[in-house]
């Protein structure tokens, strides 16, 4: 028994999450993310450390995906259709619905810009999604006879969940990415006091107390509004789903309130489907959205229209959401090239960009960009970066640990230095061990499993009859027979056990021979023993039986002549296990010899 954990991604980094955990012999992979900074196999976690354990489907009992971001699910089709995992994959229904859209979107971008090697196909994404089993919030799903999982609300993005993995009495909770403060669309993460043996928590903002997301949203609206007011165009490069919808709602509400007329466009054909999912999974959004849904559906946009390529040349202000999010191919890059030369325009990057993209270049302040054929594009438009990522900050992480009350904590998905600080804080405040393994490092946690045992009413009544009421502060010894049957443990009286199991009772007697120097006849020796014991054991019933033996409770003492030495008598002492203590005491007493008889 015990848990073992090895991150192959997200160990002291914020890259591609992929954590292998073994709980009481069951192997589970937590998330299967990709790193968008590489174009080769380095984008995927190194699965060779799993495949060396034999066939993947035999080794892994299941894969769990916490949410739809690609750094948590991007390697899934590769893992299931190219590396060869053929077992079950668990995720929440919104993740199940949205995940293929993002995978497909990313695949399209990868193929579109070309030069990507070893990438999965559309058919592979579909085949992978067919292996998914949906897990609803707070529903316990039995993976097999021993392994069960349960999902809790994590905030962060639509459908994000924390997962409890339980095998027998051992359990591990994996938070994925979560947010402890509700935002405009989503509620706060919540978990019950499940007291897991291990809590694996993300630690992106391990040392940060973040300003509220509302401030960032206000700032965003202000910037967009100012640009539009002065007749400029705003480009917001996004990935098809996720942040795009959040920002759409934000702008839609703002446009409505301010009665703005500048058009807002969304460049991909995916809006409809994305919005459909936000509507379908309305129960996963926050209370406010759910309440107002009856009067007005937030996802039915009045101001946001589908984009046509011809619109980019239209005069006057406009806001355009275009994919891909890092300006590395396709529509968003084309619009950027058109608008970059005009200082009235603005590009807002609502997420991070990896090196090797135009997005990365402009965010690092480069304003003269080399284009194909040694052409130079001068960027005069304003460039803004806004992080809308919704992770728990240091306070939130501590709050979650307080809620779940784990025995051990393990930090992933963060930077080493920040983790180190949080680790100390957690250890001080909660007096639990906190770990922060790097990728490839294994943490082993021995656990002392607590096994629930049922007690029979008869046995309890007998204890009660002895007069003492149960007291939680004063544990006391209770004797009974433990019956283990069909993974159930019950403590019953020995009589009941015999009856239930159909067994006959056997008596177990201990015997011992004690040699006494006594030349007298056996009967006389016995008499002397009787008198000696009678004088010492005043509280016990000492009897001299007609057959010449002496009894003290269940202890039987008989005397016999020594076969070789007539001056020695052999005392045969025997007793039952109930009188073991008394039996041992008597034997030692007799071994000391008898008092001299009065002559």
């Amino acid at each position: 028994p015990g848990s073992r954990l090895t991150p192959t991604g997200a160990g002291q980094d914020v890259g591609r999450s992929c954590i292998l955990v073994s709980v009481a012999g069951k192997n589970v992979m937590l998330d299967c993310g990709m790193h968008m900074g590489f174009n080769d196999d380095r984008r995927f976690p190194d699965f060779s450390y799993i495949t060396q354990n034999g066939r993947l489907t035999d080794f892994l009992d299941c894969v769990i995906i916490s949410h739809f971001h690609l750094d948590h699910c991007g390697a899934l089709p590769y893992f299931s259709e190219m590396v060869g995992y053929d077992g079950p994959i668990y995720m929440t229904p919104p993740t199940q619905a949205i995940c293929p859209i993002l995978l497909e979107d990313y695949r399209k971008i990868a193929v579109d810009k070309k030069g990507e090697a070893n990438f999965f196909t559309s058919q592979m994404i579909k085949d992978c999604m067919k292996k998914v089993v949906a897990v609803h919030l707070h529903q316990t799903v039995q993976v097999d006879d021993e392994l069960e999982i349960k999902a809790y609300y994590a905030g962060h993005v639509l459908g994000a969940a924390m997962f409890q993995i339980k095998v027998g009495s051992e359990s591990v909770v994996y938070t994925g990415d979560y947010n402890m403060t509700p935002d405009r669309h989503l509620g706060a993460a919540w978990i019950d006091r499940c007291r897991p043996n291990l809590l694996i928590t993300e630690s992106t903002y391990a040392t940060t107390i973040r300003d509220s997301k509302r401030c960032r949203e206000r700032d965003f609206l202000k910037k967009v509004h100012e640009t539009v007011e002065r007749g400029g165009k705003v480009l917001i490069p996004v990935f098809a789903l996720g942040r795009a919808q959040e920002l759409c709602i934000l702008l839609e509400t703002f446009w409505e309130r301010m009665n703005l007329k500048a058009p807002i466009y969304f460049s991909t054909g995916l809006t409809e489907k994305a919005n459909h999912y936000y509507k379908l999974f309305i129960t996963w959004t926050n209370q406010k959205i759910r309440k107002t849904f009856v009067q007005r559906n937030m996802f039915e946009f009045k101001h946001i229209k589908a984009f046509d390529r011809a619109f980019a040349d239209n005069p006057g202000p406009m806001v355009v959401f275009a994919t891909p999010g890092m300006l590395h191919a396709g529509q968003s890059l084309q619009i950027f090239r058109k608008w970059a030369g005009n200082e009235k325009n603005m590009v807002i990057m609502p997420g991070y960009c990896v090196q090797g993209t135009v997005g990365h270049k402009i965010l690092s302040g480069q304003r003269k960009l080399e284009m194909e054929g040694r052409q130079v594009l001068e960027v005069k438009m304003q460039v803004e970066y806004m992080s809308f990522s919704a992770h728990a900050d240091a306070k939130g992480i501590m709050q979650l640990i307080g809620q779940a009350e784990p025995e051990h904590v393990l930090l992933v998905h963060g930077e080493a230095k920040k983790m180190e600080f949080l680790k100390q804080k957690i250890e001080q405040e909660f007096r639990v061990n906190c770990y922060m393994p790097a990728n490839g490092e294994t943490v082993t946690l021995p656990t002392s499993p607590s096994i629930p045992v049922g007690i029979s009413l008869g046995l309890l009544k007998r204890e009660m009859a002895q007069g003492m009421l149960p007291d939680a502060k004063r544990p006391r010894l209770l004797q009974g027979t433990l019956i283990m049957k069909d993974s159930n443990f019950r403590l019953v009286s020995s009589e009941q056990a015999l009856k239930e199991l159909g067994l006959a009772e056997h008596q177990l007697r201990f015997t011992c021979r004690v040699h006494l120097h006594d030349a007298r006849k056996e009967q006389e020796t016995v008499m002397r023993v009787y008198s000696h014991l009678k004088s010492i054991l005043k509280d016990h019933c000492v009897q001299h039986l007609p057959d010449g033996s002496v009894t003290v409770e269940s202890i039987l003492i008989q005397a016999a002549a020594h076969s070789e030495d007539p001056g020695t008598k052999v005392l045969l002492v025997s007793w039952t296990y109930q009188d073991e203590e008394l039996g041992s005491y008597l034997t030692s007493l007799l071994k000391k010899g008898l008092p001299q008889a009065p002559s």
Binding site: V14, H35, G37, F38, Y49, G54, R55, T57, D58, D71, D86, E104, D112, K113, K114, G115, S122, K126, M129, K130, K131, D144, D145, E146, S267, T268, G269, K273, R309, A310, A312, D313, H328, A329, G330, L333, Q334, G351, Y352, V354, Q355, G356, T357, V358, K361, S364, G365, Q366, E370, E372, G373, Y385, S387, S389, E415, A438, N439, G440, E441, T442
Partner: protein
């Protein structure tokens, strides 16, 4: 090295060496190393360092350990290794004692940074790059690196330990192969001192009794025998074999997996596999002393060997068959009558393992079924292959899982309880059952196979993943049956099976799970492709509601299903099997033909999959000369090209261009081939002018010219290829005269230039052939093709861009830290 990169390098090195400059992106350092690796593959490292002294300064800076971050230290170690891989550069770095400082005992070993796995990993990778020449071996010995490599074998990081094990093999091989006379004996004196210390370490580890140490030593040996096939490996084995084989004598073998890997690696090596050594005896001994689960992979490995004694193969095959023998035994009325080959009778250990719990039973059966499946696919699968018994055992397993078996023995009863509804075993068994279709079986078995497949396809208990496997297995059996009987002789099993299959399919097409509906449609497409022309199949299909249901699924809420329905309908229509929604039973249905309905999907479906599927169907129909397309083809094509050119999904546009290519090829007719035998042509060859007029009428030219400047590169590339083909056939050097000075041509060229600049502009309108020819000649299609062959981000991904980005990031990163989604 690109002079521009060389110019940027000093500034970058200064930034990297400056501990106050934050570097947040590790990928940049990785990419920088990739670049240096590429550069040193073609250029002299020594020259590189001499021309760029900043690089040596950067490495020297790394020696001031307290000032350097762990990531820069790790980077420097790896970089130094890359340079020192060339012997003259190694000597150069040695003169400055740089290498000793970085990799020696005075290096990072004793520092706090050594606790960071990436530093240890960098140290190993640096040495891995460096250990390529004889000077390196002496260096490793002198600087005490070998002892550090030993200690890293048990590193807390799997990545570090694994890399350290690879490095140890490399050093061992370098040490021995660098020697003049590689004749090695059992005495220590025969071995070079470095190799001797490695062998001594391995001996000590194997003797230690500690599982992690033994495992690591076995891994080193496995890699050694896998990589090095020289005679010295035999001498190495002679020294170590007593220590290794005595591991097998323990009651439970703690390192079974690693031992099996080692023996298999040896068996695959030409040094051991062909020689007359005790390896086969050891393998046989290992097979018999491992637990059933541990023995499986070893048995499979043995059966995959090209050279191996038959007796050992038989023993290995028995191991794989045993779980299934147990299943047969459990189902048999008379104990011991499993019918499997002699010696394959179920053994008590196996039975115990199977009956212990659902997990162990499922694990064993799944492993055995998967291994047997792998064997079945091999060209040299074991002979005799007990096809009938394997069929029976697999079907029995499936019956145990579904609860349809009637067990007579108590073991059978227990197995029934353990396997009831076990999806994992159901999937594995159906996979294997499908694979067994490759072999032949008696009529009776085949009938039973179809019965059990039908049972699973019909059962409401079958999960979507099980159903998918059942569909796949059914398809494989149907294919194999038709292959066995030949296309003209209908197989006796198929007809009755099909009659029962289609009502089941009807149900599955209405299943609430999209996964099931989709798998059923994919299955239907395959069936129709293979048997659409057979009267039996047509009769059974048309007698069912499957075609109508498929058509209804064109409106499915799930895009994947809609796309599969489009493909299935396309295939049904190709074979004349689709339903026509007319008559009193469809009063509300508009009398829309299938092509019109698909065109409607192409125009209005909000998702790419169905639209892409429609384009594939149209292309297929056009290629096959489907009657639906022949009817007013030009008008239909014009409509399709008009719709597809506006599609937001670039893959749909690419499909559109593929359709255009087929149309163009058909319009042009076969190319003139000087070697072709002149055949009487069915249609007279069309003149280039006529071709161009046709293409203009169907809007193909407008679509292709517009696509040439599409922002999505594959679209532009496809269009470029298409126009090159068109130019070659209609406007070669001579032929049709262009109209370069024609004012219309000037207007069109202006429009194209505007498109190229990313503007949309007005449609081109009707183009006269002469203008088209002029444009085709004026366009630099070859140049465009070369540009489009590169990735759209090749400029951003270039080394120069990398260096610029790293430098630019320095000032910018303070504001916003590394973020994530």
């Amino acid at each position: 090295m690109d002079p521009e990169c060389s110019r940027l390098l000093p500034a970058l090195c200064a930034v990297l060496a400056d501990p106050r400059q934050p570097m947040t992106d590790d990928t940049c350092l990785e990419k920088l190393l990739d670049w240096f690796k590429t550069v040193t593959e073609t250029e002299s490292s020594l020259l590189l360092l001499q021309e760029n002294p900043c690089l040596v300064e950067l490495l020297s800076q790394a020696l001031k350990f307290q000032d350097v971050s762990s990531r820069i230290l790790s980077f420097s170690l790896r970089l130094a290794g890359i340079f020192a891989a060339q012997e003259n550069c190694f000597q150069f770095l040695q003169q400055g004692e740089l290498l000793l400082g970085l990799f020696g005992e005075a290096g990072p070993l004793g520092l706090p940074a050594w606790n960071v796995p990436s530093v240890r990993s960098g140290w190993i990778q640096g040495l891995c790059s460096l250990a390529k020449h004889p000077s390196a071996e002496q260096f490793l010995v002198d600087c005490g690196a070998v002892d550090t490599i030993f200690s890293l074998q048990e590193d807390s990081s799997l990545f570090v330990a694994s890399a350290a094990s690879q490095l140890l093999v490399q050093v061992l091989s370098l040490s021995i192969q660098g020697r003049a006379t590689p004749q090695l004996g059992s005495s220590d004196g025969d071995w070079p001192s470095c190799a001797q210390s490695i062998v001594g370490y391995l001996e000590e580890s194997l003797r230690s009794g500690a599982t992690p140490q033994i495992t690591q030593a076995l891994k080193v040996l496995t890699t050694t025998f896998g990589r090095c096939h020289h005679s010295w490996t035999e001498a190495l084995w002679m020294r170590l074999s007593p220590l290794v084989t005595c591991l097998l004598e323990k009651d439970t073998v703690p390192t079974a997996h690693s031992l099996a890997d080692l023996f298999l690696s040896m068996a695959r090596s030409p040094t051991f596999g062909s020689s007359d050594c005790d390896l086969w005896v050891t393998l046989a001994q290992t097979l018999s002393c491992l637990s059933p689960t541990q023995a499986g992979p070893l048995a499979l490995g043995i059966l995959k060997l090209h050279v191996c004694p038959q007796a050992l193969k038989t023993q290995a095959f028995d191991v794989l068959l045993q779980p299934l023998a147990c299943v047969l035994e459990a189902a048999a009325q008379v104990p011991g009558s499993s019918g499997l080959p002699d010696g394959t009778g179920s053994n008590p250990t196996m039975a115990d393992a199977l009956l212990a719990s659902t997990s162990s039973c499922a694990a064993l059966l799944c492993q055995s079924l998967a291994h047997l499946g792998e064997l079945q696919a091999l060209p040299h699968s074991p002979r005799p292959w007990p096809q009938v018994l394997l069929l029976e055992a697999t079907m029995m397993t499936l019956r145990f899982c579904s609860g349809s078996a009637v067990p007579i023995s108590s073991v059978g009863g227990r197995l029934c309880g353990i396997l009831a509804s076990c999806i994992r075993v159901q999937r594995a068994a159906l996979d294997f059952l499908g694979m067994l279709s490759q072999g032949t079986g008696p009529q009776e078995s085949v009938t039973q196979v179809f019965a059990i497949l039908l049972e699973y396809l019909r059962s409401p208990e079958s999960s979507p993943t099980v159903l998918k496997k059942a569909f796949q297995a059914t398809l494989r059996w149907l294919l194999s049956m038709s292959k066995a009987c030949g296309s003209n002789n209908p197989d006796p099993h198929t007809q009755p099976f099909l009659r029962e299959l289609f009502p089941v399919m009807q149900k599955r097409l209405c299943n609430p799970c999209w996964e099931v509906r989709d798998s059923a449609l994919e299955f239907l497409t395959h069936l129709t492709t293979h048997w659409g022309g057979q009267p039996d199949f047509r009769e059974a299909l048309l007698a069912s509601d499957v075609p109508e249901l498929t058509q209804q699924l064109l409106q499915d809420p799930e895009a994947y299903v809609r796309a599969s329905a489009v493909t299935a309908m396309g295939q049904l229509a190709s074979q004349g099997l689709h339903a026509t929604p007319s008559g009193p039973e469809h009063p509300g249905a508009k009398q829309k033909s299938l092509p019109q309905e698909l065109l409607h999907i192409l125009s209005l479906d909000s998702e790419g999959f169905p639209r892409r599927a429609v384009m594939q169907v149209f292309t297929q129909w056009l290629q096959d000369g489907h009657p639906a397309m022949a009817e007013d083809l030009e008008q239909f094509m014009a409509r399709v090209f008009q719709v597809v050119s506006r599609d937001l999904d670039w893959e749909v546009r690419v499909q559109g261009l593929e359709l255009a290519r087929v149309f163009l090829a058909q319009t042009l007719g076969p190319p003139d081939c000087p070697y072709a035998v002149a055949l009487p042509a069915a249609t007279p060859p069309t003149s280039p002018a006529e071709v161009l007029r046709t293409l203009g009428r169907v809007q193909l030219l407008e679509f292709a010219f517009r696509a040439l400047f599409d922002c999505d590169r594959p679209v532009a590339q496809k269009s470029c290829d298409l126009l090159l083909l068109l130019r070659a056939r209609t406007a070669p050097g001579g032929g049709l005269q262009g109209a370069e000075c024609n004012p219309e041509a000037v207007t069109v060229e202006a429009a194209l230039r505007a498109w190229q600049a990313g503007e949309q502009g007005q449609p081109l309108g009707e183009l006269v052939p002469e203008v088209v020819v002029a444009i085709l000649r004026a366009l630099d299609l070859e140049g465009l093709q070369a540009t489009l062959a590169e990735s759209s981000d090749h400029v951003e991904q270039s080394p120069r861009s990398l260096l610029q980005d790293m430098l630019a990031a320095v000032g910018a990163l303070g504001g916003h830290e590394a973020d994530c989604y």
